[in-house]
Amino acid sequence: MVYSIRDREIDIADLLLARNGDKSAFHRIVERYKRWAFNIAFGYLGDEMASYDISQKAFIKVWRKLKSWDESQGFRSWFYMIIKNLSLNYRRDTSRLCEEEISPQLSVEVAAPDEEVLSAEAKKKVWDALDKLQPQHREIVVLVDIRGMKYRQVAELLDIPIGTVMSRLYLARKKLAEILKPFWESEL
């Protein structure tokens, strides 16, 4: 999702209207960002229903907090932080309940890198591995490798230098390789 100057202007115009209580302007924002918000939440949660719930809560938070939104901050990175914080809170609150479910079953095989499509089980294995990363490492992997964003876009979104994107991505992939390597090693 390339964020052009025109997109930014449209967002700001609708957000200013929504700030004054214009529901149709807020509706337009939801329509433009619903898939994006859902996928960002999914990157943190790996669960469709939880992502639906959290992305909706994030939109409601935007509606409630619009008065305090600083136009100069830009909408997308502000909204991203809202989704991120809600997702991390959700994970923290549910982690104790889900501990047993999340723990890896070593008998499940992860597809080797040369296989075209990952099975549902393999995907779960990768999500479990992503769960073991620090949140700031996980988000970079999700944005770059799963969402297919360029480093510059990620740096803008998270308001961090490109060098930090690269170093976090390096550490994240290294850790993931450590976790996942045993599962495909025998097939290589």
């Binding site: 996928n39 999914f42 909706q56 890198p113 996942l180």
Partner: protein, 148 residues
């Protein structure tokens, strides 16, 4: 070029996010450094696996209902706020009338006054406790302001 410098460029090399001069230096280095070459291979494999992780494809009906979900939640929240304000107004009024017509009435004996008084006190303690816990949880929100 040292291995540490290569590691900093390694992901950029794989994702084609470094300039041609940096790319040339990486390629030159891995020609004679087996350790870095092996690391690049390992990273390439994990990258390939990750790139096969697609985002979920939700049905059209899911997206069509999405706005209604948000609208209903906002409406419900507004309903709860109005309901709570009304309930608080009624409770304050009921408390005022209770004090006026019950506790200050000399014809009512001390025992029912004491019983009702203790129940009311217990209810106030419970409400204050719940509110305090909510406020404490909000103030100590671990990820409230996650660092970027």
């Amino acid at each position: 070029m040292k291995c540490d410098e290569i590691k900093a460029l390694l992901v950029g090399y794989l994702d084609d996010e470094i300039d041609s001069e940096q790319r040339r230096r990486v390629e030159e280095h891995i020609l004679h450094c087996k350790e870095c070459a092996a690391e690049i291979e390992e990273m390439r494999k994990i990258r390939e696996v990750l790139r096969k992780m697609s985002e979920p494809k939700m049905p059209d009906a899911f997206w069509q209902r999405y706005w209604n979900g948000i609208y209903n939640r906002i409406e419900r929240q507004m309903g709860w706020i109005l309901f709570s304000i009304g309930a608080i107004v009624l409770l304050v009024f009921a408390f005022y009338r209770l004090v006026q017509n019950f506790f200050l009435d000399p014809q009512v004996s001390i025992m029912p006054k004491l019983g009702i008084g203790i129940i009311a006190l217990g209810a106030i303690v419970l409400i204050v406790s719940i509110f305090r816990e909510k406020i404490f949880a909000m103030r100590n929100e671990r990820y409230k302001e996650v660092e970027r």
